[in-house]
Structures are given as structure tokens and as C-alpha cells.
Symmetry: C2
Subunit: 459 residues, 2 copies
């Protein structure tokens, strides 16, 4: 990696003042991810405050051909925000203004650095909420960039459905808005969806207009243990197939429940378990619950433990959200690795069963959990970072898991994105011609290849 | 327009045999649209039977730089399938095989020429249905290409949400599949959504994998007349704002109701009217109906006339689907012109009211109807095709309507697409930089500009 051009640095410093830094602490923070990937430091970090600043920065970066990596909360898990080619990291976390709430239209516009919990806190008094919930308290910009989803996606969709419109700075510094705020449109190419999931490789998303939903009259959450993981999976598959509009349905295997109990000091049964949530009017929620109970019972489910009070419900979902940390920390000084396959629901039981068999043979501690209503589940490994053997074993396991999912017409990533970790998997999944098509779009929008280079595919 | 290259024609004839034709009847049929646009004939028509044939054709067209226009059912209304640069028209209507129904996954894969009514007839015994309903019995390929929606979109979304994956022939003849069949994915750029709505300008969609839905346990439809159009609109706005999951809610003004009565020999009250449909369990449908009734009553709505039996319901929606023809044919030998703006729901009442005022000043017969739950409505004019004045007056009216909608953060087209008719509107709506971005994507995927030239934007 060559040194940054001095004129470039000087121009950036003139623009950002003391919000541009080369301090090692800042470089380290922005060159580190939560998972097993090696650190990769940027050469310069800037903290942007508005779209226009980002545009000025990209004009300079384009002129001097400096790599640019956008950074939000740093919660991505495929190295999506690691500046593997150095250059400048644009930290958007201080762009955290909520710009507009259109209560009557059930939408809002936020800066990219707004975090999802911040948005929901802000929305509380409006009777609206933003449903997409990847667990981590990610930024909305980051969530849009990786096409995030999570626990509520089974009912409310993913960022693909949640984003109405984007304000984007293109690699040459032009500022565009991808669409109007109307709920639907047939006006030309769907640029909004092109940028959602492009992981910062086509430009920098600076503002996002999001669909919101009314907070349901009744929310009921419950936990139900099962005799077998297969029984829990079958319950979910049947719930989806009959079209029950369940708001959340999450699976955790017994190892995961053990980890959750230990990490969050809880005392759930350490069996395969489903976490449920139901939304609607009181009568409609009761109706949904009856069906879910019946199906659970038929598949070896035990009693439902209810969490109807807000505090209890929050405790339940906090435990679910901490499941990743719980799983990684089953042993000290471990580092996490999470898989992310998603398959058609008809293949889910088979895919999880085969995965379980393979895990039984492995020495590395692992748990299974996931958003099974969408066919999406994760295996979380707790890896000894000093052990090359463990890393290699998990890598090989993950390759086999992905090949299996792809053979089932599934995807290597339901919600984490490709990042640096799954470029080969993307080729395996979609083939050379499709990836070449993506690459050609990248080439025409970012001809100098400055935007988050090294991600999704190699140029 | 120059003559087609003789070698090209010979090669195509060798490929397609008597499914390639230059007969005037075939050229005329494929050069004509249902609306006010002038005919524009292709020089050659081929009837494709499979993806591989389409690929061979595009290889030749690319080599000889011959314009290619895909054609489905010919029901588009913005000249989207008019071969304005001549060349070859690829008729896909004989590619009408249903390739797979994955009942357990609630999805199916069809060839592009399958029509939506055909698909729903086929699905009937499976307990599933395909909800997207633009009125016309369009092909699925055409619906994907124009990002169609229609009466059910308020509950089930548009083709944007309905398409899981596409098989596409690129302009150079390469065959690609845009994604796997999994319900969600974060694997690279969302090429599926890029092709949905691209109006055949980036390649030819030959196979579509669609999400399906379970046929609801209970379906109830009703018609309710209102004292005023404003009262009907307000009812819809309130229904949407409280989050009632209504399956259909359509508005028809009194002129439209008169036209419907005459055309379909019915005797509805000739007042502003809402057509409702509710889906769900019996109890849940009753609950939804109570709320809808209450809101209607508060806004000057009259009695609900119910259509619970399948025959009655079909009659009701048949009348709604024929509303376009009813409106155009209020006078003999007229030709239709339909507007298609879509605005945020908070601006809908104002937008419709201003539109009504303008219509009152006009001499050309017109009706208002639309999918108001999405903020999308149409003005349908019945134009004397021999009158340049009428055409000009409607053109001017439509321009003003679109400017008004765009100023309200709405779009010039909710579901019809840009075609040849709204290229200037697209620029007005999204600006030069955004359209330039679309154009650059077109340029890299179709460098010779053979695919449906003259649509969406000028090159």
C-alpha cells in the first residue's frame, strides 16, 4: 500500500478540520471487525456530518484515486467495512439526524448514521415503529448497504422492502436521489434496490427514506422448548406454509440455549427452542397463538412461556439478540465466525439436520440459531484465534454448508452480505456470467474502482 | 428505417422456420397498442418457444445490430412494446408453460408468456394464488418488465415484491439467472430488481420465479357509494394510516360508475364509490369489515353491498377490470389515454381534488379510478382520435397532473412504466444525473443499444 498523496490529505484536512485523523487509535478502530477476519487499517479516517461533505470527499478521492470505505457501526460480519486496500475510511456515525417523520405516510427520512434503536426510541410517541432488526444496533445506512434483515423479516420483509428511497453520493461526487417517496413507482430502473445491498461499492448512501409500520395493538411473545430440533423446524415450516402472519419465529438449538442461559443469566430449558412473537388486534393475536400452539404441540413442543409485559418481552429479545455474543463467549478469548445460509423453506429441515450431523463431528464449539421462518439460519462458532487448525476446519465446514445450501437453490448469505469472505461463494452460487454483469455495472458507475474495493467480487 | 440485413433475416428464418414472419397482419398486430400512440411496425416477427431460441436470436441481432422488441400480450399502455425503431419483435406469448409449482415453498416458475389468469386457473387446486392483478390479462413477463401492480398491491405488493428470481437473455445472447429461489438473499447486487421494471431495455426475461400466497380462508368483497369523492378518498387514507391489511380498495368516481353501469349492464349507484375486498380467517375478516364500515360511515359512505359468493365477487371485479374499456367507450370510435400518478397517501386527497377541478374545465370525457390504497390513481380519457385539439388538451392536462404529483414527492407512473410516453416526465421526476446513471447501466449491458430502443430514455 503506497502512502496517501500529500495534496489529497491536505485537501481533506482543509475540508474536515479535526474531523480528519491519522491517529492510530482511530485507524485501528476502523480497521477491525467483530469476527475472525484479520485487521486491515485505513490510512485516514474522516467523520462526515452531511451529504455535501461526503460529495466533496469523493470528488477528491476520485481525482487522486484513493480507496474509500464507508463505516457505520462496525457491526457487519463479513469484513464488509474493512479497508483492505487502505485509503480513507468515511465514518458516518455522526450523521445521526432524523430528518423527517411523515406520520400520515408511515415513512421517515434519516441520515445514514442513525441507529435502529435510536430510530425506534424516537418513533415511540408516534405510534409507529421500524421493524427491521438484525440484532446488532447497526446504522440504517449500514443495514441498507448489506440488505440486512433479522428477526422481524418473516413478517415485515428485509431492507429491500423497507427502503423507499435513497440519497447517494456517486463515486464522482454527484449527489442523487434514487426515487420519490411514493409507495410504488414504475419510473425506470430500480436504482434504490441496486444500491440496497451493494455494500458501499457503488457510492455512499447518506440518507434513507424508510417505510414504517403502526405499533400493533397487541404484541405477544413466547418461548417454547421442543423434544428435538427437527420438531421445532417442522413447526416453523408448517406455520409458514399455512400463511400464519407470524411477526417473529426464531430457532435456538440446545447448545445455544445453554450459552444464552449462561451469558444472560436466565434459566430456560436447555432444549431446542422457538422464540415466537405475534402482532395484531387482541382477537387476531389470540387466533394466531392458538394455531401456533397446536402446530407446536403436534411436533413435540412443550408449554409456551409467555412474555406479555413490555419488560419481559424486552428481556426475551435481549437474550435472543445477545445470542451471538453468548455463543462466541462459551470459552474465553474466543473469536466468532457465523455462517448465514438461507434455503427454500421446503429444504430447511433437511439442511439443518445435515448441518447438525456435521457439527457433531467437529471439535470447535458451535451453536445453531436463526430466522427460520425465512429459511435462514446461522451456525456460530467460538474459535480459538491462535489455532490455525480450528480456523481451517470452520472454513471447510462453511464451504460445505454453502455448497449444500446452493444445491438446494439457496444462497450463501441471507443477510450478512458477501464482504471479503464470500466472493468465491458468490461465484459458486450465481456463476461467472452473473458476477461479470455485477462487475460491469460497478465498472461503469465507479470506473476508477475507488469505492470499497475488494468487496463482493474482485475487479 | 433501413431494410433488415438479408443475412440476418435468412439466419433468423433458419432458426425459427415458419415462426418467423414478415406478413403484414403480424407486423400490424405487433406494431399497435391499445392507447393513443401511433402505430410503429416491426420489420420481422418471431414467435419464440424457449430461452435458448431467444438467446440465438439475440446473438444474431447483436451481431447485425438489429433492434429487438419483446412482446407479450400487448396490454401495456405507454407504448412500452411498440417497435419504434423497427427491427424484430420477439413474441413470447407461445412460451406459456408453467414450469414448476413448489407448493411447500409458496412459489412457482413460469415462462414469460404465461398469463396471470392462466396461472391462477392452474393454481386453483393447490390452494395457492398469484395476487398481482393489473386488470388486463397480461403476461407474467410483461408484468415483470413494467413492474406492474394493480388492485391487490395494497396488501400483496407489486411485481417488485412478487418476483423471486428471473432467467434473462442478455443482449449478447448470454443466459443468466439473477438469483436463487431462497426467500431472501444478500448475495451481491440485486439484479432481479434491476430487470424488473426495465421494460425490455436490458435483455429479455424468459422465465420468472414468483412468490405465491395461500388462498385466504375467507374472502369478502363489497361496494360502497359515497356522498363525495373526497369522503371516499379520506376513508381510504384512514384505512391505510391505521394499518388495516385490506386486500383491495379501489375508487371509482361517479362518471366512472356511470360508464361501468352502461358497459357491464349493472345498476350501481352513480356516485363516487369504493370497491373493497377483505382476506383472512372468518373472524379476522369480520373484524376488518367492522373497521372499514365505521370509517366509511364517518366519511359519508352509504350501505355496503356484499358480494360473498364467488360468482358475485367475480362479477364485481370483472366490472372493475372492464372499467378502462367502459371509460374509453363512453363515446363511439374513441381511443383511450390513461394517466398513472402515484403520491404519498397524505397528499392523495389534495391531488385528486385538484385533478377533479381541472377535469371540470375540460371538454374531453374522463373518469377517475385507481388503486388509492397505494396513492395511485388513473384519469381515463375517451379521446376522439381525429381531433388534434383533444389530444393536445389531454397531453397538457397530463403534464400538469404529473408536475403536481412530482411536486408532492410522487411519481409520474405508479405501474404503467415510462415507455415512449413519459421520457420527459422521468427527467422531470428524477433529474438528469439519475437518468444518466440509468443510461450508463444500459450502455454497459447493451452497448449496441439493440434492446427495445427508444424506451424509458433516449440514448
Amino acid at each position: 500500500m503506497s502512502d496517501l498523496n500529500a495534496d489529497f490529505v491536505q485537501s481533506v484536512e482543509r475540508l474536515f478540520g479535526n474531523r480528519a485523523t491519522m491517529a492510530l487509535a482511530a485507524l485501528s478502530q476502523h480497521g477491525h471487525s467483530e469476527v475472525h477476519y484479520e485487521d486491515a487499517l485505513p490510512q485516514l479516517v474522516v467523520y462526515a456530518h452531511n451529504t455535501e461533505e461526503v460529495a466533496e470527499l469523493l470528488k477528491l478521492a476520485n481525482q487522486f484515486e484513493v480507496p474509500v470505505t464507508p463505516y457505520g457501526a462496525g457491526t457487519s460480519v463479513e469484513g464488509n467495512a474493512l479497508p483492505v486496500h487502505g485509503g480513507v475510511c468515511v465514518d458516518l456515525s455522526e450523521m445521526d439526524s432524523i430528518l423527517a417523520i411523515n406520520q400520515a405516510d408511515l415513512d421517515c427520512t434519516v441520515q445514514a448514521g442513525v441507529r435502529r434503536e435510536q430510530l425506534n426510541d424516537y418513533l415511540r410517541d408516534t405510534g409507529l415503529f421500524f421493524p427491521i432488526d438484525p440484532g446488532a444496533n447497526a446504522t440504517i445506512g449500514g443495514m441498507a448497504s448489506t440488505r440486512a434483515s433479522g428477526t422481524n423479516a418473516v413478517r415485515y420483509g428485509t431492507m429491500r422492502e423497507a427502503v423507499l428511497s435513497l440519497r447517494v453520493v456517486l463515486p464522482d461526487g454527484k449527489i442523487v436521489r434514487t426515487s420519490q417517496r411514493a409507495k410504488k413507482s414504475a419510473a425506470g430502473y430500480d436504482l434504490t434496490r441496486l444500491f440496497v445491498g451493494s455494500e458501499g461499492t457503488l457510492g455512499i448512501i447518506t440518507e434513507i427514506t424508510l417505510r414504517l409500520h403502526g405499533i400493533p395493538e397487541t404484541i405477544s411473545a413466547a418461548v417454547c422448548p421442543f423434544n428435538s430440533l427437527g420438531g421445532a423446524v417442522d413447526t416453523v415450516v408448517q406455520i409458514i406454509q399455512i400463511g400464519l402472519p407470524i411477526a417473529r419465529v426464531e430457532i435456538l438449538d440446545s447448545a445455544q440455549m445453554r450459552a444464552v442461559n449462561r451469558w444472560s443469566q436466565l434459566s430456560y430449558a436447555e432444549q431446542p427452542t422457538l422464540f415466537f412473537e405475534f402482532h395484531g388486534s387482541q382477537a387476531y393475536v389470540l387466533e394466531q397463538i392458538e394455531t401456533a400452539k397446536l402446530l407446536s404441540h403436534e411436533n413435540g413442543g412443550g408449554e409456551f412461556s409467555w412474555a406479555d409485559k413490555v419488560e419481559d418481552r424486552n428481556r426475551l429479545w435481549k437474550a435472543r439478540h445477545e445470542a451471538y455474543y453468548a455463543a462466541v463467549n462459551v470459552r474465553p478469548n474466543a473469536v466468532g465466525w457465523t455462517s448465514d445460509v438461507c434455503v427454500p423453506i421446503s429444504r430447511l429441515a433437511e439442511c439443518i439436520e445435515l448441518t447438525q450431523h456435521e457439527l457433531a463431528e467437529m471439535q470447535v464449539p458451535a451453536t445453531i440459531l436463526g430466522h427460520v421462518g425465512d429459511g435462514n439460519f446461522h451456525v456460530i462458532f467460538s474459535i480459538d484465534p491462535t489455532s490455525v487448525d480450528e480456523l481451517r476446519a470452520v472454513e471447510e465446514f462453511n464451504k460445505r454448508l454453502i455448497s449444500r445450501a446452493v444445491a438446494m437453490d439457496g444462497t450463501c448469505t441471507g443477510e450478512h452480505g458477501i464482504g471479503i469472505g464470500k466472493k468465491a461463494c458468490l461465484l459458486e452460487e450465481l456463476g461467472d456470467d452473473v458476477v461479470a454483469l455485477m462487475r460491469s455495472i460497478k465498472g461503469v458507475i465507479d470506473p476508477k474502482g475507488i469505492m470499497n474495493p475488494g468487496k463482493i467480487f474482485d475487479l
